[in-house]
């Protein structure tokens, strides 16, 4: 690996999704893949911007891309699916629509090609193509003793570009986890909506959507859900108690990041992989991942 991957954390990985950042950094460290956080990065422009004022969203993306170019990153990693999508979309639109190109022109000193040269990538795709299940398998140091998990990909990483994985029936997370010895269940909701920001705006609707996911995952025999996106993770993780209150159904379903499980399999440290930050299914998490002696502190 010649130059470091540019790393664009976005707001989530510094906030609600900090466990994602912790596990991502740990995992890449274990794989000797250098990551360099983008200096002076700004909001990716996703969701709220995108729905209210696309042009500003693209402006924000363009600046981030320009920074990546300045730091001469060939690849820019965007772990949050929303960031990943809006950055890709900005590149796509500036090629498709002259007006967008004009608006973004000022960035990259009017040379849009440099903004397009940057490969915007999701860590899942990076691990799958640049490392791959086989090389990963050789690096496994911890034997899996947990239950089977449901891989949940969400929508933004796979659609519409289908570059990070197959757009309707993604498999890469399943294959990587299988390589790490983790049994995954086959289910149909891999890319169904997690509720997105509806949990904030139309709360009932949003919660019902991630209730559907939890229910189906459980029905298919999954004891945990594994995600690639901080928003999905948050939605599925945070409302389980509320769902219990409303439906009487108790899931206690751990909702983890794929980076956490892979990191653990490669011998990563419990704390530095961000496990203690999980909300739901802490018991299971402790059983599966915590070193016996630290099981207690795992609760705090």
């Amino acid at each position: 690996m010649a130059s470091a991957y540019g790393y664009f954390p976005g707001c989530s990985l510094k906030g609600t999704g900090v466990a994602y950042e912790e596990s991502l950094l740990e995992l890449f460290r274990l794989l000797d893949l250098p990551l360099a956080e983008l200096q002076d990065w700004n909001c990716c422009g996703a969701t709220s911007y995108m729905s209210i004022d696309e042009s500003s969203a693209f402006q924000l993306s363009a600046r981030n891309l320009a920074l990546a170019h300045k730091a001469s990153h060939a690849d820019l990693l965007a772990p949050c699916s929303a960031c990943y999508l809006v950055l890709r979309k900005a590149q796509d639109y500036m090629q498709k629509y002259p007006q967008v190109a004009r608006e973004m022109g000022s960035w990259g000193n009017g040379n849009l090609r440099v903004l397009n040269q940057i490969r915007v990538r999701h860590p899942l795709e990076v691990l799958f193509t640049d490392v791959g299940p086989d090389r990963l398998r050789q690096k496994i140091v911890r034997h899996w003793h947990g239950g089977s998990v449901a891989c949940y990909y969400g929508c933004q990483m796979v659609r519409p570009y289908g570059e990070a994985d197959r757009d309707h029936d993604p498999v890469r997370m399943d294959e990587l986890l299988e390589a790490a010895g983790v049994p995954t269940v086959d289910w149909s909701l891999k890319t169904k909506c997690c509720g997105g920001s509806l949990t904030g705006t139309a709360h009932q609707v949003g919660v019902r959507l991630n209730y559907i996911l939890l229910k189906e995952a459980a029905r298919k025999g999954a004891q945990a859900i594994v995600t690639v996106c901080p928003l999905c993770q948050y939605n599925l993780d945070a409302y389980q108690s509320e769902i219990r209150r409303d439906t009487g159904q108790r899931f206690d379903m751990p909702v983890l990041y794929f980076t956490q499980i892979l990191g653990w399999a490669l011998g990563g440290d419990y704390k530095s992989l961000g496990f203690p930050r999980a909300v739901a299914g802490r018991k299971t998490i402790a059983q599966w991942f915590a070193p016996a002696r630290t099981e207690k502190e795992a609760y705090v």
Partner: protein, 664 residues
């Protein structure tokens, strides 16, 4: 210098084509402009030049104003050049004293600004006027038509075309890729809207083909090479070995029972892999020819060489089985070709969210055709892969049709066959049936009535494109079922309907090998990949290559009645050529001015048809105008301008170039 065209008197005719041209090109101004051009003695504009009065106008003016050159500015020469040339002929003028200006397809229809369109039309007319002054009287050549016909594809289209021609006394070579003729239709149980049994109407025609003295049937064969031109095609046919001699085999099929495989183990292609066959098999009971095939991929003898060869024993002294059979090459000469290579159904696995290949109870329509078929894998029982009889069945329309992500076209037959299958499945199972459709398209004799009939049979129709076929359940009622999620656009909400069986009404698409066939016969494909007809309305079974005709779904999706009609039409077109005995060829051939040819031989390597030979005695090249197809490549290549092309003389083309640029 004196005017070389002193005697030239040109008449220019500008066509309004109703408003097709007149709306965007100022035809009056164009006609007035033309009148000012040198050697133009008459310029008119008229509503429809191609109409009889329009042509009469030309004929009359030729007499009254002794015109000797005619320019018509109207539509594409591909549409009416012939019409107007004939008009000249009738008017007593050589038909090649004519030039056509395309101001419709290439001006009025593609431009929006009237001034610009008119200016362009003027340039083109000016070019034509300058060009036509150079035109010379030309005669069309004649090529004899070989009376035999090659029909490629043994589906209902090929069968019908072959029989029509054979009954007219012409010899037909019918070449089919599969081991049997019958095509897709042979797999159907019943046909819409009459519900008559497909086998009952098809198999008599199949055996007629087999027994017809005028038909040479080559199944399990492919055309690998085609040379020549209209009236004189040479085709090379590769006959794959079926390892059973068609002439010696009596069709007793004892070899099948004798095969060392007691149980059939190989997925049966004819039954859409819903059943198994043996390595030695016959595609289906009524197959034509009634001769088994050995599939070397799965036959023990071919794989290991260690088989008891019980099949050969069973065949006994008929000695019909020859495991050493080699591919055979047949060379045939035909005058005309009918392409009836058919279609393939859309691969439902390309749409992951419909679950084909993932959920065992999702079927394609063609699979269900076999299920409901009495001679099918289940003997006509509609049962799921796990043996259950479905209680509820969903039929999903437009799978791989009318979809930006797959194919944009409507496959025309799916609505109707979905109705048919709905009827048959209900008949066989009494199941509750849901049709999910975008629009019901039932244009055709008795089609709408059939739709009404189905409505009365209480089959449900839900107007809405299916979002997904899935297995995730919301309430216990859905346990173990497939759930259809679709917006009911009439009721205005999203529905979840749990069913036991899903039928995907897959659309029709061009065969994967269509591009090779197209190249082989030197014809074009339309953008979606079906073979391109010469004109959608006026020449629907012709191609741009003379003597090659289209029949059936290789030209586009169509149902059986349309296919048979088109096959008849293709046969008729071929017959017309054959019975005329000859075809007139365009005179735009190349010729060498021997007096000035320096014998450099440059032209000879230019010709792909070996039409140019070198005459050593006089040390000059010579063009065989029968072999010459008139591309003009040798003309461009001749270094000293000794090779020329009728209708595309240098003078004519230079005049055209100067013409279009006259007001540059």
């Amino acid at each position: 210098m004196s005017d070389p065209h002193g005697a030239v008197r040109i008449g220019v005719y500008t066509c309004h084509c109703g408003s097709n041209i007149a709306a965007t090109v100022d035809v009056k101004a164009l006609a007035q402009f033309a009148a000012t051009l040198p050697r133009v003695v008459l310029s008119r504009d008229y509503k429809y030049m191609c109409s009889d009065p329009g042509q009469e106008l030309i004929r009359q003016d030729i007499r009254d104003h002794d015109l000797n050159r005619i320019v018509v500015a109207s539509c594409s020469p591909h549409l009416h050049e012939h019409t107007f040339r004939t008009a000249l002929k009738v008017g007593g003028l050589n038909p090649y004293y004519f030039h056509m200006v395309n101001i419709r397809e290439q001006a009025s229809w593609v431009h929006v600004d009237k001034a610009q369109a008119t200016r362009k039309a003027q340039d083109l007319v000016c070019a034509a006027v300058r060009r036509v002054a150079f035109h010379q009287p030309l005669e069309r050549g004649r090529v004899a038509i070989h009376p035999d016909v090659l029909v490629l594809g043994g589906g209902i289209a090929g069968i019908h075309a072959a029989l029509t021609l054979a009954n007219a006394g012409k010899h037909v070579f019918l070449v089919e890729k599969e081991p049997t003729i019958g095509g897709h239709m042979a797999k159907f149980d019943k046909t819409f809207p009459t519900l008559d049994c497909a086998a009952c109407i098809l198999t008599p025609k199949m055996s007629a083909v087999r027994s017809h003295p005028n038909i040479t049937l080559w199944t399990y064969s492919e055309v690998t090479r085609v040379d020549g031109y209209v009236g004189n095609y040479k085709a090379t046919v590769l006959r794959h070995p079926r390892y059973i001699d068609e002439d010696l085999c009596a069709g007793c099929l004892e070899c099948l029972d004798a095969c060392v495989y007691k149980q059939a183990k190989v997925p049966d292609e004819f039954n859409m892999r819903l059943s198994k066959r043996k390595p030695i098999y016959i595609p289906f009971p009524q197959a034509v020819p009634q001769v088994p095939v050995i599939d070397p991929e799965t036959c023990i003898q071919f794989k290991s060489g260690k088989c008891k060869k019980t099949c050969i024993e069973a065949c006994g002294d008929r000695h019909a089985i020859n495991l050493r059979a080699e591919p055979e090459i047949e060379e045939i000469e035909v005058g005309t070709v009918i392409l009836a290579t058919g279609f393939q159904t859309f691969d439902a696995a390309r749409i992951p969210y419909y679950g084909y290949g993932k959920y065992p109870n999702v079927y394609t329509a063609l699979e269900v055709e076999r299920l409901v078929n009495a001679s099918g894998p289940t003997g006509g029982e509609v049962i799921l892969r796990d043996g259950r009889k479905p209680q509820t069945v969903a039929i999903v329309h437009c799978v791989g049709s009318r979809d930006e992500n797959t194919h944009r076209w409507c496959s025309r037959v799916c609505c109707m066959y979905s109705l048919k299958l709905a009827h048959l499945v209900k008949e066989h199972t009494g199941a509750e049936i849901f049709n999910f459709y975008i629009d019901m398209r039932t244009p055709g004799k008795g089609f709408e009535e059939f739709y009404q009939k189905l409505l009365n049979e209480r089959v449900h129709f839900i107007r809405g494109r299916v979002a997904e076929v899935t297995d995730w359940e919301l309430d216990p009622g859905e346990e173990g079922k497939l759930v259809i999620r679709a917006e009911d656009t009439l009721a205005g909400f999203v529905r979840r309907i749990p069913v036991d069986m899903v039928v995907l009404a897959t659309g029709l698409e061009p065969r994967a090998d269509a591009p090779e066939v197209r190249r082989l016969f030197n014809i074009s494909c339309a953008s979606e990949g079906f073979f391109l007809e010469r004109h959608p309305k006026l020449a629907p079974v012709n191609t741009f290559t003379d003597g090659i005709f289209l029949a059936g779904c290789c030209q586009g999706p169509k149902d059986i009645p349309d296919t048979v009609a088109q096959a008849g039409a293709a046969a008729a077109e071929a017959l017309a050529l054959i019975d005329a005995g000859y075809v007139e060829t365009e005179p735009n051939t190349a010729h060498v001015e021997e007096a000035v040819c320096c014998g450099c031989k440059t032209c000879i390597s230019m010709c792909p048809y070996r039409a140019i030979s070198f005459v050593n005695e006089i040390h000059k090249s010579r063009v065989n105008e029968v072999l010459c197809k008139g591309c003009g490549t040798c003309v461009a290549a001749c270094p000293s301008g000794a090779v020329r092309q009728h209708l595309f003389e240098d003078d004519e083309i230079f005049a055209e170039i100067e013409g279009v640029l006259s007001n540059a």
